[in-house]
């Protein structure tokens, strides 16, 4: 494999991890949605490059799905939800930016140690893809844990799913049907979550998840 092909795949997958960190760094909701759109765009580029590198044309369809659904439709929908909920000026962080970043670095190091050791015999392209994909998944989980606002938790969930797509494209021979069904189930999950958001707002007058804790009788 020419070194440059590998380097570009590496750069794109690494950029996806960096975009996950940018998401952790953003505490404004509107900026967060923009970053999520860029996250999906980088994912689409990365998948398209994998399609070129592996010579697997069906991955172009995956890239197109990522581009259309995740980089355009979901951010636009999220923005409309945000405006209708009237929370576009809110700033919220449970853990401060610094500790969150440090935790994130720890998670990335963990993902690399685990993945590089486990997949010692795999194809190098798949191997580094898996390491980065696990980092993106863990960072998405971290995002869901460190945020209180339901909308940013949804964004954490969606970026976690981006990591799964990256892992799926790195492994050769993943059937297209599986990828399409994953993409659509995420879209349906998004719709359900969107409806839930409005229900939560109706019931509690807020989308701050601490209100739910209080409702369950948990004290902080």
């Amino acid at each position: 494999m020419p070194a440059l092909v590998f380097d570009i795949a590496h750069l794109l997958a690494g950029s996806l991890v960096v975009m996950s960190f940018v998401q952790l760094y953003q505490d404004r909701l509107s900026a967060l949605i923009n970053v999520f759109a860029v996250h999906a765009l980088v994912l689409a580029l990365s998948v398209a490059w994998q399609a070129f590198a592996q010579g697997a044309p069906h991955l172009y369809i995956t890239a197109a799905i990522a581009l259309v659904f995740k980089a355009i439709i979901i951010p636009v929908a999220l923005r409309r939800i945000m405006v209708r909920l009237g929370i576009h000026r809110e700033i919220e962080v449970v853990v401060g930016v610094g500790p969150a970043m440090l935790l994130g670095i720890g998670l990335v190091a963990l993902a690399m140690v685990v993945m590089l050791r486990v997949t010692a015999e795999a194809d190098p392209l798949a191997r580094e893809d898996l390491a980065f994909a696990l980092s993106v998944v863990l960072l998405g989980l971290l995002m869901m844990v460190t945020r209180r606002n339901a909308v940013s938790q949804v964004i954490g969930f969606m970026s976690l799913e981006n990591g799964l797509v990256l892992a799926a494209t790195g492994a050769k021979g993943m059937p297209l049907v599986v990828e399409i069904s994953v993409a659509f189930s995420v879209l349906i999950a998004f719709i359900v979550i969107g409806i839930f958001l409005f229900r939560i707002r109706e019931r509690f007058d807020t989308v701050d998840m601490q209100a739910l804790d209080k409702f369950r009788g948990e004290r902080r």
Binding site: A3, G14, V97, I105, M112
Partner: protein, 317 residues
Amino acid sequence: MTAFDWIAQILGILAALLAAPLFLGWVNQCRAWLQNKSAPPLIQPYRGIRKLFYKDALIASNASRLFRLAPYVVFGTMVTAAAVIPSIATRLPFTRAADAIALVGLFATARVFQALAAMDVGTAFGTLGARREMMIGFLAEPALLMVIFVASLISASTALPAISELLATQTLALYPSLAFTAVAFTMLLLAENARIPVDNPATHLELTMVHEAMVLEYSGRHLALIELSAALKLLLYISLIACLFAPWGLGAPAAGPWDLTVGVAAYAAKLAAGGTLLAVFETLIAKMRVFRLPGFIGAALMLALLATLLRFVSGSF
């Protein structure tokens, strides 16, 4: 080691000293153009420094010897750093004397002396500036070291000439880790040189200033030296970018006058481009609150750490 090498070395230091105010003037000019103001002439920083050299140096009555000594120490470290960084040619006599880690130490020495001198007289502004400088430094220094470690991991050497020679002479390759460190280093450049998102270089009396607050007590030739070393520091950071991330045109071994000419031309082109980009960036972005600075520099540290991790991934194949 020929006599020619030494001539090139001395020429390099003199060129850095002369080019530093010129570079500052160029950045100011670009900034003024971008903001639709009439620009000051290119040689305005020289005039400022000459004026300061002619003036009397006033020193507070309770200032200790450290206060007088600090400008000379800061200036001395910057000149030494200028000799260490390969800007126009790689195999110069001094560039072998200190590696990249020693260079970080040189910058740290200058920082410590400047902060101590700022606290020496005991004015509120000086102490405030010194503390802020240290707040920036405690995150910026490890980040700078991480940036250098990434470059050293790639080239298996901490000597700057070896790094830039390797990067300049190999076949085309893309280093993702170097791309991330380049971004981190740019953020460090802005933080360390009191440029816009961190500090405003155009103000002299403002509660948020960092560098200007530290040098408020200086006047005359001391202030001139400090301003010259600040300009030199900015130039050195741009030179570091040039030699780590864009080492093309660096005359590989300083073999003959032709290589040196190519090196000087490439260096001038890189400086012009770097100054323009700096001015564009400074015009586009707004100054940050002081309390947000640890987040900004922490992000640079984070990027550099991530690049190191990335280097281990790509280095394991």
